[in-house]
């Protein structure tokens, strides 16, 4: 257990890292999307376009900040801050390495007993940012976008929670550190069946939860202008974008901690360089990069679902399949293992 000022410094560093990651993820995303669509993407500002995020940040700050006169001022200002602060807060429970491995410090902000619930709680409050932003803008498109978004996020939270329940049942813990430490090779081989099903449903649900394509209905620009973002400009708009990308990082980190072994590297590499699978940060970042790449890949590949399709997939398919996986796990644990 670290003293409180160490925790504070770590929280600060993680926030800085997430925001820096956001800036460069926009560049990587645009470059990758460009390549997938047979074009170059940004390559004019600085070498390989590396200064593009900084140029974008300066542009966002100096753009005129338009405030809608008919807006509900208090909620209008509150909403983007809710979005970004709870997006940043959610990352705190993710461990990035074994205890005391980062210069003698623990590579996590908080070691919470209820780690997974904590992330769910923070993301469920994050819904308010989008929801209230759309309402406070006093604009039909904004309100429609935010209602859609809230409905979508609540629907897919069920699939998310039930898929995570499979992991909780197998590992017997809500704590990310203990989930990562669970020896998956020592469990009953039949448990792989629900675990793989749960991985697939969790991946789809978290795609919907972070509003990634093909679930990007909240800001479907062809039909809703830009959804809840329509009336936001300048730095408040940038805060929403930050929250979106930080949620992407958090989703990737949770997914890798729950299903892909978190901060652990492949053990066979230990024969080449002893102890490499225990190195902090590197493996988690690699796994997150893989998942984020997949998300961007989806953006370039899939068209958007219709709204009724989104609801049908969420309630009729994902929910039932995830429930089946959780029940199967419970039955296996109770009767077979």
């Amino acid at each position: 257990m670290d003293p409180w000022y160490i925790t504070l410094i770590k929280a600060f560093l993680v926030s800085i890292a997430l925001l820096g990651g956001f800036a460069y993820l926009t560049l990587i995303q645009r470059k990758l999307l460009g390549r997938m669509q047979h074009r170059y993407g940004p390559n004019r500002v600085g070498p390989f376009g590396l200064l593009q995020p900084i140029a974008d940040a300066i542009k966002a700050i100096f753009k005129e900040d338009i405030v809608v006169t008919a807006a509900d001022k208090f909620v209008y200002y509150l909403a983007p801050f809710l979005s970004i602060s709870f997006a940043l807060v959610a990352f705190g429970a993710i461990p990035a390495g074994p205890a005391n491995s980062l210069f003698g410090f623990d590579p996590w902000v908080m070691d919470l007993d209820i780690g997974l619930l904590y992330v769910f709680a923070a993301t469920s409050i994050g819904v308010y940012g989008i929801f209230l932003g759309g309402w406070a803008s006093n604009n039909k498109y904004s309100l429609l976008g935010s209602l859609r978004s809230a409905a979508q996020m609540i629907s897919y939270e069920l699939g998310l929670g039930l898929s995570a329940l499979t992991v909780i049942l197998i590992t017997g813990s809500l704590n990310f550190r203990e989930i990562v430490d669970f020896n998956v090779w020592g469990m009953h081989p039949l448990l792989w069946i629900p675990l793989i099903i749960a991985f697939i449903t969790y991946f789809i649900s978290s795609t919907a939860e972070i509003n990634n394509t093909p679930f990007d209905l909240p800001e479907a620009e062809q039909e809703l202008v830009a959804g809840y973002l329509t009336e936001y400009s300048s730095i408040k708009w940038a805060l929403y974008m930050m929250a979106e990308y930080v949620n992407l990082f958090t989703a990737a980190a949770v997914l890798s901690s729950l299903f892909l072994g978190g901060w652990r590297g492949p053990a066979f590499l230990d024969q080449v360089i002893p102890g490499i699978s225990q190195w902090p940060l590197i493996w988690l970042l690699l796994k997150m990069a893989m998942i984020v790449f997949t998300f961007i890949w989806l953006q370039a590949t899939l068209p958007r679902f219709r709204y009724d399709q989104v609801m049908r997939i969420g309630w009729i398919w994902l929910f039932e399949i995830a429930l089946f996986a959780a029940l199967l796990t419970a039955a296996l644990i109770a009767f077979v293992v």
Binding site: D72, F74, V75, L112, D113, I114, L117, Y118, F120, A121, S124, I125, V127, Y128, F131, L132, W135, L143, L147, A150, A151, I154, E157, L174
Partner: protein, 176 residues
């Protein structure tokens, strides 16, 4: 103790906001704020699991539905108060309840629970501790609440179904 005083003041301020704010969305947000403050009270008592559930269930799900209804029904600020005659009565009843509550507390002061006692009651506040109590000692009550909720869901669904059926019949009549 200091943290509790600060949280209590915030909690009371939030609760007053719920009943006094004119704009329904602001009142609902004030309720969200007090629910979150209550979650922080739980955290300060080391009941982390309860705090997490409080945020997920109340702030994350129930209040979102409240706001949904407020926004979809487009509830507006009330210009004229239809229940003005109720106001003095409400003040009197509220004041009497508050006096009764305070008098009751002053008359029979329960000793403040110490940390050890709280620990044994909530069993460290972990998910396992709560589950031990909930699924052993209170399993009957837990099941009954489950049945109660199921009844509510079935009732709501059947009400909606009937409305949909009536709408269909009316539509058929209009077509015929």
């Amino acid at each position: 103790m200091l943290s509790f005083v600060i949280l209590a003041v915030l909690l009371i301020a939030g609760s007053i906001g719920v009943v006094s704010l004119k704009q329904p969305v602001h009142a609902a947000l004030s309720l969200v704020a007090s629910l979150m403050t209550l979650a922080i009270v739980y955290i300060s008592l080391e009941a982390h699991f309860l705090a997490g559930i409080q945020v997920i269930v109340y702030a994350g799900a129930i209040m979102v539905l409240f706001l949904f209804v407020i926004m979809l029904l487009n509830v507006q600020e009330q210009k004229e108060n239809k229940f003005a005659w109720m106001k003095p009565a409400a003040y009197i009843v509220g004041a009497l309840t508050a006096i009764g509550l305070v008098a009751n507390i002053l008359q029979s002061p329960t000793p403040a629970l110490n940390a050890e006692l709280i620990d044994t009651i909530i069993a460290g506040g972990t998910a396992e501790g709560v589950a031990q109590v909930l699924f052993n000692q209170f399993v009957l009550g837990f099941q009954l609440v489950g049945v109660l909720l199921l009844t509510g869901i079935v009732g709501a669904t059947s009400l909606v179904q009937r409305k949909a059926e009536i709408a269909k019949i009316e539509e058929d009549l209009a077509n015929a």
